[in-house]
């Protein structure tokens, strides 16, 4: 019962991210510096989750998935940093990036409280929910908010990768049903 409640807690947290980004998408008020900050933050959060998985899991599929998330999201951040450097834009913290990071810290603590198969299931459930939320935020908020064409193009190029990550996560999740 406690385990069930704890698992549902993780999912609830993940879904709260979905609803948060969805509601924010209805009221986009971000400039390019803020869009860049949200993009980097969203990628860094998944790198942080991957680090937790690397430390806690012994499951080969989870570890492989986490390594892919870490490498791919680092690649996206590198591209984003190169672009903002070229554009002479300094990413600026804002309500969205702060909310994303605050929610992620809560999720990270919940993940750290688990171990074994319960951790693996919670991690991959969260990855599915998180990627759905981020895809929604990138398509519904960040791309429409971007003024600079190169920033918009970079965000558009990231979407297929996020969708492949989601499909991959859903495939791994099937092992934990």
């Amino acid at each position: 019962m406690i385990k069930t409640l704890a698992s549902s807690g993780i999912i609830t947290l993940a879904l709260s991210v979905v609803f948060t980004t969805a509601s924010l998408a209805q009221n986009p008020k971000l400039n390019d510096a803020e869009v860049a900050s949200v993009a980097v933050t969203a990628n860094q959060i998944d790198i942080n989750y991957a680090a937790v998985a690397k430390a806690k899991s012994k499951n080969a599929d989870i570890l492989k998935f986490a390594a892919t998330m870490s490498n791919d999201h680092k690649a996206v951040i590198a591209q984003a940093v190169a672009l903002v450097t070229k554009l002479k834009v300094t990413p600026k913290d804002n309500a969205v990036s702060k909310k994303l990071m605050a929610d992620a810290e809560v999720t990270k603590k919940a993940l750290l409280s688990k171990s074994g198969k319960a951790f693996d299931k919670a991690y991959i459930d969260n990855e599915v929910a998180y990627h759905k939320a981020v895809i929604g935020a990138v398509e519904g908020l960040l791309i429409p908010s971007s003024k600079n064409a190169e920033l918009k193009a970079l965000l558009e190029k990231v979407v297929p990768a996020l969708k492949v990550h989601l499909s991959h996560a859903e495939m791994v999740q099937m092992n934990f049903k």
Binding site: A75, S167, H168
Partner: protein, 106 residues
């Protein structure tokens, strides 16, 4: 027509036939772009070469799916890998396992 002349004509026709049936191997390109193999289904002849070019910002690989008979190892962003085709195969990216492609033999 002398028998030497007939022999010469037959020899010329024989060489002409051989050269037309032994086409030079071709090189084909598969783009890796937006997390897809483009084209994801390609038909080649034995001895042809396929070059996979990674245009994505992420690293990929190209790995035979059934028994891992061959693999490119990691293809970094902007890099490419080529292979002479010896048999039909289903392949995938072992990093992003939902990315799949197919090689058919003509």
């Amino acid at each position: 027509m002398s028998k030497y002349c007939i022999c010469f004509i037959l020899t010329v026709l024989l060489f002409a036939g051989c050269s037309s049936s032994q086409e030079k191997p071709k090189a084909y390109t598969v783009e890796i772009k937006d997390m897809k193999f483009i084209p994801d289904d390609i038909t080649v002849k034995q001895g042809d070469t396929i070059i996979w070019v990674n245009h994505d910002m992420m690293a990929h690989d190209v790995t035979e799916e059934g028994s891992k008979l061959w693999t490119s190892s990691i293809i970094p962003s902007g890099a490419s890998w080529k292979m002479e085709v010896t048999a039909a195969a289903n392949y995938y990216c072992s990093i992003h396992v939902v990315m799949k492609g197919r090689i058919r033999m003509q």
